[in-house]
Symmetry: C2
Subunit: 194 residues, 2 copies
DNA sequence: ATCATTTCTTGAACCAGTTCAATTTTTATG
DNA sequence: CATAAAAATTGAACTGGTTCAAGAAATGAT
C-alpha cells in the first residue's frame, strides 16, 4: 500500500523501521474517480497528497474566468495548495482529477505530528520544496523567455506521455495560450507562409 | 552585526544562546559596492546570502540575449541560485548588486554543518522555501493571467519603494515587457485613443 | 449502432505588445 | 558647470497570439 511513497522518501532521507511505522500511521490511502474536485479555490486546503496512480490538474482561475494550469501531477508527484494548507487561509488554487486517482493523504495535524515525532521529515519536505521551486522557476523562465511553439516542444520533450493523458485544451491552458492557437501550432498553420 | 538576520530567524524558529553562537560562527559578513557581479550564469553558485542592506537583481538571460529579472532582493531577502548551490552544477541565474550591499553569507559547507549541529535550521530553510514558492507562484500566475498594465500596477502596489531603487528598464525586464512599452504604459499612450 | 455532447480545427479580423530609429531627459564625471 | 554617457520617451510599422464563429472529428451514453 505504501510502497510507492516509501520509495519516494528513500530518495530524501533514510528511516528506521519504527520511524517508517510512525509515518505510515499518519497517512490515509484514498481512491477517487476521474473528474473529482479535490480542492476549490476559496476553500481551505486541508491536505497534502502523494499521487500513487493517476493524473490530475492544478489550476488557477483569474477574474476574467480564464483558467491557467500550473502543472499536471502524475505518479510520484505531490499535490496541495501549500500556503492554504499551512495557514488555513482560503486556497487560490483548484485541484481536480483528470484520471481516476490513488492518493496518499496527510492532514495538517498529521504533518505537524510527523515533524514533532520524526524531525527528519523536515528535511524531506524541505527537499520537496526545493525541487518544486526549481521546477516552478524553470516554468516561469520558459514562459517569459520562449515563444509558444518552443514552449510546446519543450513540454512534449519533458512530458512525452502527458499528451495521451491530458486533453489538448488543458495543455493550452498550461502553455498560457488559447486552444485555437495550440491547434494551429500542431498543424504548422501558425507560421507566415512564403 | 547579526541583528537583522537574528530578527529574521526569530520569525521561523527559536534558538538557545549556544545555538545562535553556532549559527553566527558559520556566517560571514560582506560589503560589496554597487554593480558588483555576485554570480554569473555558468559558474557554480557557492553561497546563499541574506541581504542586510541594499538592493540587487536576480536575472536570467535567454539564448536570444533577452534578460528577464526574477526578483529584486532588498533588505531581509535571501539570494542564491539554489539548484546550483545545492548540487554544485552550473548556475542558470545571474546575480548583480544594484546598490552597495551589506550581505551575510553562508557557504555550502557551513550550511551542511549548521544542519548537522542545529537540525532546527532545516525547519527555517523549509519555511523560507515555502515563502519563496508562494511568491514565485503568484508571480507566475500574474504573468500569464494579467495584462502588462495590470502587472505594473500590482508591482507598484506590492513594492512601492522599488521604482526609486531600480531603473525602469529593469522593471520592464521584471514585468516581461520591453522598456518602450513600459514607458508607454506609464504615460497612458499605450491605449487606443477614442 | 446512433445521437448528443464535447473536443479539435480552420479562417478572418483584430489587438497587445515588439522592434527600430530618432529625440529628449537624466545622471555621472572631469 | 560642461559635457559625455546612459536612461527614458515617442511614433510608425509590424508580429505573435487572441477572439469569434462555423464546421469536422472524437467521445460517451443509451
Amino acid at each position: 500500500m505504501f510502497e510507492a511513497i516509501d520509495r519516494y522518501t528513500e530518495t530524501c532521507i533514510s528511516l528506521t523501521q519504527e520511524e517508517r511505522s510512525v509515518f505510515h500511521s499518519l497517512l490515509v490511502h484514498k481512491s477517487v474517480p476521474k473528474k473529482t474536485v479535490l480542492l476549490r479555490a476559496g476553500d481551505a486546503c486541508d491536505f497534502e497528497a502523494f499521487v500513487v496512480k493517476g493524473c490530475a490538474r492544478v489550476f488557477f482561475i483569474n477574474e476574467a474566468g480564464k483558467e491557467v494550469d500550473l502543472y499536471f501531477p502524475v505518479e510520484n508527484w505531490w499535490i496541495s495548495d501549500l500556503p492554504s494548507f499551512t495557514s488555513g487561509k482560503p486556497a487560490s488554487l483548484n485541484i481536480e482529477t483528470i484520471e481516476a486517482c490513488e492518493l496518499i493523504v496527510i492532514s495538517r495535524e498529521a504533518k505537524a505530528k510527523l515533524f514533532a515525532e520524526v524531525p527528519k521529515f523536515e528535511r524531506m519536505f524541505r527537499l520537496m520544496l526545493q525541487r518544486a521551486n526549481e521546477e516552478l522557476m524553470n516554468r516561469f523562465i520558459s514562459t517569459v523567455a520562449m515563444s509558444a511553439e518552443e514552449r510546446y516542444k519543450l513540454f512534449l520533450k519533458k512530458y512525452p506521455e502527458l499528451p495521451n493523458r491530458v486533453p489538448q485544451q488543458l495543455i493550452a491552458a498550461y502553455l498560457g495560450i488559447s486552444a485555437e492557437f495550440l491547434s494551429k501550432i500542431r498543424s504548422g498553420k501558425h507560421k507566415k507562409e512564403d
